[in-house]
Structure formats: C-alpha cells, structure tokens
Symmetry: C2
C-alpha cells in the first residue's frame, strides 16, 4: 500500500500559498498492540488551522515545521490490535494528514450511528456541531422571541447555530457573503432574514433586519461585520465569541470598534470559548444533535472536494469565501 502525507513546509504569512504545504511519501506503519491502522476517508479543513500554522500563543499548540499537519478525519479501520475495535469499524479523531494512519485507540472515537452520512461526524455531529450547540446554548442562551444574529451563517458552525436558535423559538438573522449564500439562509435553512455583508448598504440592511435590536450575537468573523452588529446590542445581550475568521490572516493589528463602551451601555457579556471546555457534555449534545438531524430539523450543507492532493486547495478556499457549508475532502 502506498502511503502519503502533507507536512508544514514553512509558516505562512497571509493566506497560505502552495509553498506552505509539502507532499511526502512515507511508509505504512503496522499498528502496535493497542493501536489500529486507519484508512482516511474524509478529511476536515477548518479555519482554526490557520492559527496553528503560525507560532503565536494560542489555545492550541502550533503545528511543527516539517511534521504532518493534522485535523479531524473520519476513517475506516483496516487492521486492529485492540479487542474493542474491529476491521470495518468507522472512527473519527484528530489525526495526521496521511492516507493511512496507525494510532493508539485512545486517540479516536468509534462512530456509533452509521445511519447518517459519515462525513457529518466532521460537521454537525462532530466538532463544529458541538461548537454551535455549546456556544449558543451555554453562552448565548437564546430565549423564545429574542433576536439571534449569526455571522458566517452559511458556514459549518453558523448554519447549525441558526437552526438551533430556530428550534429554540428565536428570530434568526444570518450574515453571509453573496446572493447565493443569503438565499440559502432563508430558503434552505429557514432563517428569518439573511444579510449580505458584501453589499454596499450592509449596515443599513442589517439595521432594518433587527428592528428589535440584537439579543444574541454568535461571533464567527470579527472585523468590520462585527463592528456593525455590536452597535445594535440590546441590554443584557450575550456574545459567544467563537472565531474571527476575518483577522486570521492579518499580519498586523486588528483595529476597529472598541467594545468597552458598548458593553457598559448594554451590560452585555462577551465570552470567548473553545469547544474543549464543554467535553463533559459532548455525549448528551451529540445525541440531541443526531436526533435533530434525523428529524430534518438540522440540514447540513457539505462541500466535498475530491482527492488527497486537493487538501491544501480546499483549505485555502475557506479564506476566499468559496466554500459552501462544511468543507471536507473525500479521499
């Protein structure tokens, strides 16, 4: 069997170019006792990985130079040296970008429900769904009739945030870029309104879409979009801060609206979070999410790129607004 991996060739400045990634042939390792050999089926590419490519202080360690990049992967076990795992089992875990991976079984989770598409374990039933669930429900705490705004609303996290907010009875306004995505928010996902941040009258359209102000703003983007939204926060608003994709490729300072004055005026709360904080609640949340998927209460749009060799391209597309929904690569 041929094996292949993608290593970090250099740390990027701005959007990672081709020279940041290097393909290397490598051996297929035999699994040791307590390990399994996994054949990668679906590889997830996510915006947070850009942060790990730099060596700045962050909530996850930076990727090492000349070592394989890694991320969430769904795979099939082709050989097992652990009695709890069998050939043919499906697993998900944070694994190196490699065609075949031998790892200890404590680094993967067995996929229990295979009655749904497996790649959903890279989105709605995986980390991005969990991120939406806990960020929205634990920090955002939307109440029936409140207005919930989510940015990057057609993305993997944002689309789930909005749909859960609908389930909870909120009025949901999504922000996305371009006509197609905005239509998708209202027509496919059932949001109450979709606003195009690329349009010239974004600020005015947004204001018109939130006549009662903003009670929850699920922050995925930061930057100028956020500057506009934050001016409409209501008293006691909650802002789960999940990501700031607009600034991940900034090499300089992130300058814009200071929030302190807004927070004082509204007594609002902003809280950054990473999904690891909610580990203890993953199982219960996963069960509820799977139920919503089965009942068609949560629709998941997946953008599938094909081929191991296209992983870097799929990653870069994240920063150019090309992806629609969750971006995965099918091997």
């Amino acid at each position: 069997m041929k094996n292949e991996q993608i290593v970090l060739a250099k740390r990027p400045e701005g959007v990672p170019g081709d020279d940041v990634f290097r393909f290397e042939d490598t051996e297929v390792k035999q699994p040791a006792e307590g390990e399994v050999l996994i054949k990668a089926l679906y590889v997830s590419v996510d915006p947070y990985m850009r942060g790990r490519m730099s060596d700045a202080k962050s909530y996850v360690a930076p990727y090492e130079l000349d070592k394989p990049l890694e991320g969430h992967i769904v795979g099939e076990i082709v050989e097992s040296k652990d009695n709890d795992f069998e050939e043919g089992d499906y697993v998900v875990g944070v694994l190196p970008w490699q065609r075949y991976i031998a790892v200890a079984t404590n680094r993967v989770t067995k996929i229990q429900n295979t009655d749904v598409p497996l790649h959903l374990y890279l989105s709605t039933l995986g980390m991005t769904g969990q991120t939406a669930y806990h960020g929205l429900l634990k920090i955002g705490q939307p109440k029936e009739g409140e207005t919930v705004v989510v940015s990057a609303a057609s993305g993997a996290v944002g689309s789930v945030v909005g749909q859960i907010a609908k389930i909870k009875g909120a009025r949901v306004v999504g922000i996305a870029g371009g006509d197609e995505k905005v239509k998708y928010l209202t027509e496919t996902l059932g949001f109450d309104a979709g606003i195009d941040y690329k349009s010239n009258d974004f600020a005015a359209s947004f204001e018109a879409a939130v006549p009662d102000g903003v009670d929850v703003y699920f922050e995925n983007v930061g930057g100028e979009v956020s500057d506009v939204v934050l001016k409409h926060l209501n008293t006691f608003a909650r802002v789960p801060v999940c990501g700031t994709i607009s600034s991940y490729n900034n090499t300089g300072e992130d300058i814009g609206q200071r929030v302190q004055g807004i927070l004082v005026k509204t007594q609002a709360l902003m809280q950054g979070f990473v999904i690891g904080n909610y580990k203890d609640d993953f199982q219960a949340a996963g069960k509820e999410l799977a139920e919503w998927v089965r009942n068609d209460k949560i629709h998941t749009e997946v953008s599938v790129e094909e081929g191991f060799e296209n992983i870097p391209k799929a990653f870069r597309d994240l920063f150019e607004g090309k992806n629609f929904g969750k971006q995965v690569v099918k091997i």
Copy 2:
C-alpha cells in the same frame, strides 16, 4: 432661606464648558405629607454623568434640558413630614443639584452608621464602593495568587477594587496617571505595583509588571490603556467593564484594538455592568465594606471642593485627571 439650583443649559460636545450649566434661583419648597426637606451637605460628581448630559441611548435616561442636573447627595433633614424620619437625620440619595430639596422619603436612604465620615456614603460606602465590590467579586472573581489589574486605580472605584483584591490575596497592579498617583497606589493603598499610563514606556512597564499575565482586568478607562492591558490576558481571564472614561467625551467613533481575537485565544469573559443589577446584595455588601473601613483595610482618599458654585468645575476636573480619589463638593 435662599435656594439655588444648577440646570442643564445645553447638551455638551466634548468636555462640558461653562455654558452647559446654568445657576438659577428657586424657591424652597415645603415638604408635603410623606416628604422631607433636605439640606444638601455633600454633592457627588461622577464620570457617568457626562453620558446623561448627551441624549444618546444608555443605561440611564438622559438629563432633561433646562431641568436640574442630579446625582448622589448626602444631606441633613431640616423638616420631616414622615414619621420614620426626624430632623437631624442624615440621608443619601439621587437628588437634584439644589441647596434645599423636598422629596418623597422613598427616594432617599437613611444613613445608619454615623461613626464614619458622612461623605464616605458618596464613595466607599455608597455607589462607587458597591460598584467596586460587585464588579470585582461577581464578575472578576479574583482568586488567591492571581494577578488583578485595575485602571483609573487611584479613583473612587479603582482604589476600592484594588484594596478588595488585596484582601482576597491577589497580586494587584494599578494603572494611573502621573508620579503622585502611582506612588499613592503602592505607598498608601498597598498595591503591588503602580504603572503610569502617561509615561512614554507605558506598554513596556506594564508588561514588566505582569510577568504572569493578567487574570482579572477591572476596566474603568477603555481606550489606548485598555488596548495594552488586553494583550496580556491569561486563559479564562475575566474583564468586568465598569466604565470607559477615556471615551465619554469622544464625539466620534471609538476605534482601537478589537477584542474578539483576544477573547477566542484566551477564552476570556468581558461583561459590562451597572450597579443597579446587584441591588439585592447592597445591604450585605455595605456591611462588609463598612467593616473593612473600620479595620483600616480600605482607605478612602477624598478630594473635597468647597462651595455650591464650584460643582461644575469639580465635574470638569474629572476629565482632566485633576481629581485624586473620590471627588465631592462640600456645600
């Protein structure tokens, strides 16, 4: 008896000039049934009043044009039409800037402990002490050995914040403007370090003063000082946002460091608050604060301006860094 009041003559732009205030002679009203007539003894001037002078949306209603300005006042009852209040009782409440005030008794609180200076009911034993107490302990939640930073640290709120943080076993770094105030922080208030935000090497001095980063930042100022502090937040840091004095007189946008990226990296929490949110806990907090005052665990510096006619000047001085500790005006 001569009566006199100060009304809002026009809404200010920037620091309020003389033309914003108008002195008017008025009658001394006789108290009706259920009212008392109060002689003003001490008038509090506070930064938040600048916000009420504008007609922008905020957590308190704007002052009305051509009506008396109002704020916290300690006074003595000179005539009572309520059996629960006697001539000679001392009270505190939000009252119009007037030499003699007839009001319903439900608008004032009787001062119980007169074994401390009465003007402390305008600071440590009044709203600013309560603000420090609840903002620090409910949102900031400092733990022993953590680093607590407070800005406007020599001010009415900041000085109490730092001293309570010391009582709780934290390492306390205060930020203030000028040698005299910085010395006061360490020499009089017992802070571990004091940093002068007006010095050229403020950012470097601050960094040196927080070798273990910042666990709690009690925000009183916003602006460039805040931009520097927020870069040093630790994981799970808490930022009670009490005020943004640096921007109260801004007529334009408040542009500077965006916080979203910092919040994601640190999973920190920022929360704006006003003291009214904690009304139910005022009595218990007041008792604890009074005990700390009696035991000399909290020192209160008061800057006393004399004379009713100097109220506008005392208010303006707040924005020029001239006040030292709590600013009150003795009538």
